[in-house]
């Protein structure tokens, strides 16, 4: 009941009454299952702010609820104990085009919850950049397994964008970075020459057409 009151307070004056009721219902159920409620509230507020019809907002909120369930199941199957931040990051990754299987694969890297959460956000961002799931999960998995700092993970989208700007496709950019990172992990980091990122390699040179 207290959870429902909190949801109602956050939605008060921001969404139509029927949307508030729906989010309260879905949010209370989600919370009882250990799922985060913020993505539900955010989606409802976003839809109303954009002037979207209540029926469409309701559909979008229901979809988020389903994706939270999918993400939680995938993380659990991958061996991660329930973590609301990781589940929300998984939901974002699904929205960006990844699947429950992809999330499970990242969870199976054995990364801790904090690193995995960042990894899921980065994987979702890479998907949004057009990187196909196989190359996306391949790259983020290598980075997670190598135990690189979170800052190195966060640099991956910029590195991929840089390679794309030089003419690589998103798939080529991600695959090249994954190969370079795997080689670096196998042979140890190169000596620091005072430039670029200290951990993950620079983007690969795109292939000639």
């Amino acid at each position: 009941m207290q959870q429902g009151t909190g949801i109602a307070q956050r939605l008060a004056g921001r969404v139509p009454p029927q949307i508030a009721s729906l989010v309260q219902e879905l949010g209370t159920a989600a919370s009882a299952r250990g799922l985060p409620i913020d993505p539900l509230i955010d989606k409802a507020i976003e839809g109303s702010a954009k002037g979207v019809a209540p029926e469409r907002v309701a559909s979008a909120v229901r979809l988020v609820a389903m994706q939270l369930d999918t993400a939680a199941t995938a993380l659990r199957d991958g061996g991660l104990v329930a973590d609301t931040l990781a589940i929300a990051a998984g939901e974002f990754a699904i929205t960006a085009g990844l699947s429950g299987s992809d999330i499970k694969a990242l969870a199976r890297t054995g990364a801790n919850a904090v690193a995995l959460t960042v990894g899921l956000r980065v994987a979702g961002t890479l998907a949004a950049l057009g990187v196909p799931p196989a190359e996306d999960i391949g790259l983020v998995s290598v980075a997670l397994r190598s135990g690189e700092p979170v800052s190195a993970l966060l640099s991956l989208p910029a590195n991929v964008q840089s390679a794309i700007a030089k003419g690589a496709t998103p798939a080529q950019a991600a695959a090249g970075l994954a190969r370079a990172a795997a080689a670096q992990a196998a042979h140890g980091p190169p000596p620091d020459r005072g430039g670029g990122h200290p951990h993950l390699p620079h983007p690969p040179t795109p292939p000639h057409p």
């Binding site: 976003e46 979702g124 949004a128 700092p149 700007a165």
Partner: protein, 179 residues
């Protein structure tokens, strides 16, 4: 309208990785123009009264990073040219200062709405800088994943074409910022 992609070396120049003298002669004009554009950007912080800072209350430190920047590709969309600027070395579990820039000469007002301000199109106005139609806002955001869009003239929701974007569930696109 035509799109425009900055040369990677010009991006490195804007990042501060190289100097103008390091650019090949044929790229110096482009480099100078990009530097002029960046120098003309208003660097005044924009207040965000509607932001819920409860996340920030949990954070230990506060870092502000203006440089180096990664200048995303500048792309033309409708009557607006949008440029996205983000710090290249974000600090996890911290706060990151991000500058959003929109070049929209015909716009009368531009604002930013996203997960960081409860999608309130009035909460974060961009400030017009000069006659070139450059609109800018500098925000300090918690590390994490944010979604946003520009709101032009209070009605048109414009995703940032220089940033990754995802389906918003309503038939539009949200830009994504992962810090």
């Amino acid at each position: 309208m035509s799109g425009h992609e900055l040369h990677p070396l010009v991006k490195q120049l804007l990042d501060g990785d190289i100097t103008l003298a390091d650019l090949p002669a044929e790229l110096r004009a482009e480099g100078e123009a990009a530097l002029r554009l960046l120098a003309g950007v208003d660097r005044t912080d924009v207040s965000m009264p509607a932001v819920t800072w409860r996340v920030m209350a949990k954070l230990e430190g506060r870092r502000r990073r203006f440089l180096p920047w990664l200048l995303a590709p500048a792309l033309a969309i409708a009557a607006a040219l949008v440029i996205w600027l983000v710090p290249r070395t974000p600090a996890p579990a911290s706060l990151v200062t991000v500058r959003f820039v929109l070049v929209a000469p015909d716009a009368k007002q531009v604002s930013l709405a996203g997960t960081f301000n409860q999608w309130d199109p009035q909460a974060t106005p961009l400030v017009r800088a000069g006659a070139a139609g450059v609109w800018t806002a500098t925000l300090t955001l918690p590390a994490g994943q944010h979604q946003y869009a520009f709101v032009v003239d209070g009605a048109r929701w414009v995703p940032d074409p220089g940033a990754p974007a995802i389906d918003d569930g309503f038939g539009r696109r949200n830009s994504v910022l992962t810090l």
